[in-house]
């Protein structure tokens, strides 16, 4: 009897461990979704500093990337530029934050994709860590109240973000 009970417990423990093995260790829910965006000040590639306070009241797409992040960052780069072209005049800001990279690599990447939205380098990684960034690329969507409403790990597409941006723009101002 005891033996059967012990066996049942052992099988239960193994089942739990087995279920854990089937989960993707890189799929992590961000604890920051639904919370205020960490404040940052980002030195931009073409001079000046972008402060997060200056973005208040706007819908913002924050994208963390690196020039060595191939192919995902290369895949999504044209999509981010298209979003900027499409929504920039409606007050949406796309911000590129280059992390774990060289200055030359970052500049070559921006030139290659003709990116015109603000891009800066987070040299110490403190902005990335504040955002809980796990890898590149990672993209965060911020609403007008400055809350993070969505996080995506991996390459984003125009469609993936457009629907969410439209929804945020439709929420009164």
């Amino acid at each position: 009897m005891w033996l059967w009970a012990a066996l049942a417990v052992a099988v239960a423990v193994l089942a739990v461990l087995g279920a854990g093995l089937r989960r993707d260790p890189r799929r992590l829910p961000s604890p920051l979704v639904g919370r205020p965006t960490p404040a940052f000040s980002l030195p931009l590639l073409n001079g000046g500093v972008l402060r997060s306070e200056a973005l208040r009241g706007r819908v913002v797409v924050v994208n963390f990337w690196a020039s060595w992040c191939y192919p995902a960052c290369y895949d999504e780069a044209p999509h981010l530029q298209r979003l900027w072209d499409r929504y920039g005049e409606r007050g949406v800001v796309v911000v590129g934050i280059n992390i774990q990279d060289t200055e030359a690599g970052a500049r070559a990447f921006v030139r290659r994709f003709g990116q015109t939205f603000p891009v800066g380098r987070d040299r110490t990684g403190s902005i990335a860590i504040d955002f809980g960034v796990v890898g590149v690329p990672e993209t965060y969507l911020i609403d007008r109240q400055g809350r993070i409403v969505f996080k995506h790990a991996g390459a984003v597409t125009e469609d993936l973000l457009a629907a969410r941006i439209e929804a945020l723009l439709a929420q009164g101002r």
Binding site: L3, S126, V133
Partner: protein, 179 residues
């Protein structure tokens, strides 16, 4: 062996196991953080060792050569220098990355299961083994009372030994000796 010494011996085993496990569970009193590591780098290293490197698989921030881990170590040093405590810094990383960032699950609530299951499994295994051995020894003693030649042998293969009945091996021997 009287019942009393047996019980005492059992308690000794339990106490030895408890002593071996207690420090792992953090039941032993830890020294205050300031006393343990007066040096800033050593304290930063100790904090980094408790954090999972986000871009690695199962490596601590202290051990990882990844750039993000190096940046995290630099940030830990800066925060220590600014006067933050170890627990404040750990809380900051948990705030940004979730509990996932901790290499060791915190000892509270449902997470105790993770800490206690291995110890419980060891104790259960020991109890099973002890029960099995006790039964086997009792069976051996009972048969030795009935027959002085208690061990199985070529001549007497059907005698139960310490592992209970020894079946086939003895029978083969018997057959060959019959021939």
């Amino acid at each position: 062996m009287t019942a009393d010494t047996g019980r005492r011996r059992r308690w000794v085993v339990v106490l030895v196991l408890a002593a071996a496990i207690a420090p792992r569970l953090g039941l032993a009193d830890p020294a205050p953080a300031a006393e343990r590591t007066p040096d800033l780098d050593a304290r930063a290293q100790a904090i980094a060792a408790r954090l999972r490197c986000p871009v690695c698989q199962n490596e601590s921030v202290a051990d990882s050569p990844a750039e993000l881990a190096a940046q995290m170590r630099a940030m830990i040093r800066d925060r220590l220098a600014a006067g933050e405590s170890e627990e404040q810094i750990i809380a900051y990383f948990v705030d940004r990355y979730g509990q996932w960032i901790l290499l060791e699950p915190p000892r509270r609530g449902i997470l105790w299961v993770v800490w206690l299951t291995p110890a419980a499994a060891v104790l259960a295994g020991a109890a099973l083994a002890a029960a099995y051995l006790r039964r086997a020894i009792k069976a051996g003693a009972a048969s030795s009372a009935a027959d002085s030649d208690s061990y199985p042998s070529v001549d007497n293969p059907q005698q139960p030994g310490i592992w209970g009945q020894t079946p086939d091996v003895g029978r083969v021997w018997k057959k060959s000796s019959d021939r």
